[in-house]
Symmetry: C4
């Protein structure tokens, strides 16, 4: 069993242990990334977090080197999507080490989460679903934007005199439209006039279906992808059976 | 290549550039319309906004004249839906210029957003979906209104004594019913008595399906329109193939 | 054309005028019922509202008498569902007249809204859908109640120490569970501890599907009823065609 | 009619009375469990609650003994799922009696709610639906978690400077992401900066479909289970008919 097999396959126990370890490292890395943002950390904890970040970055670097070394086509891996992501997972650490310590560069570490997609069927499906639904979603996005804009102008016309503080401009109306038509309803701004409330009622009854359309399209694309996968699996198992029968 | 082709077709590069320019003008116009409502604009900014409004209006006027000149049936265009919308996009500007400076007339400029519908498949689909679903939606609107009214009366009976400030009349109950049954839940008014909370639970468990019905009907009408379009495209491509085969 | 035809059919112009008038009376009656609850009404307005209530009640009484007189089977109408509703629409008025002036009796006038159901296809459909879905809904109601109770106990355990004011007992937890799992989210009570927030996340991700089940069942029953109606209409029109063909 | 029949079957009147009584005891037990948490209970009420708890526990003990005695395979029942649940329904009471009075042990009494599942078709269906959907749900849970995390980091980057109080760390961002993407929207924290609001809009329009996926999968699994049950019933009734025909 070569190192190449351990790194690139998950058929063997050693390969699965390697995958599990990288998976654990990603989660640990995201956890320390989150904990770092906690206010009032003692210096001792900060030092621990720094040490763990150093160790994680070195281990990711070893993973990156192993992946390059064991890749059949080295340049292809380096310029592939995952090659780029694996590099971005360690680059911020070395840039900070070299003195380039910008907030934005530190924040890039969160891209490590994309490394998780190597391990998830859902991610592949989501990707497929998005590429199926892309055209449809773009088409409805314009309709959603027009609806949100008209709702924003409407509520602004009704409410700007009654609540000049909350509805200072159409942009406040847009924020209200987003929070209302997605039914989140934070409750930071809402109409108080009779006209504004009636307008809200009409917009909600007719508009909920339009704003929900992109999410619905993605959902149905997901179902489509899933069904195709089930079909494919059935075809493969049937062919396997036929292969056995003909022997 | 005549001007008529540039204005009315989007098959040529020039035609697409013309369309893209008008599209950009509409978005710019809506943006300046929104920015105008921002409070605390300096006089300088207001002057810029005014200049941009003048330029946009003149360009829309040129577009309107071009569309009349290049239309095969001039009166038909002028009295068509888009002819009306194109006129409404410039009329407020000239009325203000003539001294008719009413808030309502200025607000009419927002109708420019409807000009966007020329460029969006989604708009055409939405239009078709609404005309399919119209009958159904009207039918369920009455059911929704009855449910909202009964919910309003119920919550008013339970809460008006405990919170006379928040539930002053059945109209406050109606606003609560709208915000709750669409699941927006702003949190400005909500029941505080045990009876009112139990009533809310019952109304929500059974009523969510009814209030969501109009949005659901529009959604399924949208799917129907989309499926018909896909069918039509397939038919067209099949006929095109047959045409080629028979040659 | 007899009075019986005007009252009981809506095939003729006079019949439709009668129906429209009663429809208008119901809406007017509900409107005055709502306006009565407005605080700070002047005595003059209150007198107007009282007069309108007297007129409406007398007109509904005439309607009730006409329906009895023109019914083919008088006792059947009187003891039918609509016979009962038509009586309840006028009884509160006469009871108050006789001195029985209780708040509950006055509130009974809201039952006039049920008279609207005579005019709406949606109501008939809703009725059919509910009777189809009844069994299913009852079955899932128990599941919903169990889920809400477990969520209530869970959030109470996590939050009762951190917010003894907001989570005084499991009943407060139940109210939180209702508002959260229907995604209304008034924002009057919500978890503040890390444990309570994690618990909320888990309950929401898995529980939303269960609480939404009754609404979903009613929705799909509505679709079923609609499809059956369309089928029936098609069958009728086909039979009508056959009838014409065979002639 | 033996005791075994009464305890284990619900075909006879006595069996149904027994089931109904246990059902009532469970509900009563949950009610007293909830009432106990009410603040400001007088000593008298507390004594009543204690008495009722003693009586309920003794009756559940009798039920447990009856179930063991009447079970055909005693050890199988004792180590079955319901054997365990029936024991957990009474164990806390006896442990408290023996002096082991921990809060956690008292809280275990809530497990009595699981005894309800013996009586509900919905519970069996939910169980089946969960076991069908398990794989799918786990797959999408990871996608949901990645989306929530990215949304949390995004909102934290936009808002942590404007509202350091509300967005103290990425964990606050996570709580915001959970409350927003489930559309609950408590309104305890929400973005206030233009960037944060735009980010919220984008996350909501695209993300609602993903977070709703697990609930949707459970819903469709429920439909599947229901359809299979209907099919099975039809098959059984057809076979019964054939059996009658062939006689």
């Amino acid at each position: 069993m070569s190192i190449a097999e351990i790194v690139n396959n998950n058929d063997t126990v050693a390969g699965r242990v390697f995958d599990g370890f990288i998976f654990f490292l990603i989660i640990l890395s995201l956890f320390t990334f989150s904990v770092e943002t906690l206010p009032g950390l003692t210096e001792e904890y900060q030092r621990y977090l720094h040490y763990s970040e150093v160790v994680i970055s070195i281990l990711f670097t070893i993973e990156y080197i192993l992946r390059i070394v064991t890749a059949e086509k080295k340049t292809e891996y380096i310029f592939s999507f995952y090659g780029f992501i694996d590099l971005m997972a360690i680059l911020p650490f070395y840039l900070v080490f070299l003195g380039v310590d910008l907030y934005v560069i530190r924040a890039l570490r969160v891209l490590r989460i994309v490394k998780l997609t190597r391990y998830s069927v859902a991610m592949i499906r989501l990707g497929k679903a998005f590429s199926i639904a892309k055209g449809e979603v773009v088409v409805f996005l314009l309709a959603t934007l027009v609806l949100l804009y008209l709702a924003a102008v409407g509520v602004y016309i009704f409410e700007s005199r009654a609540q000049p503080e909350n509805f200072q401009s159409i942009f406040d109306g847009l924020w209200w439209a987003v929070a209302s038509l997605t039914t989140v309803g934070y409750g930071d701004i809402y109409p108080v006039t009779a006209g504004g409330k009636l307008f809200t009622f009409i917009v909600l009854i007719f508009g909920l279906g339009i704003v929900a359309a992109p999410a619905g399209i993605i959902s149905s694309a997901l179902t489509q992808v899933r069904n195709e996968e089930i079909k494919e699996e059935e075809n493969q198992s049937r062919e396997a059976e036929r292969g056995q029968d003909s022997q």
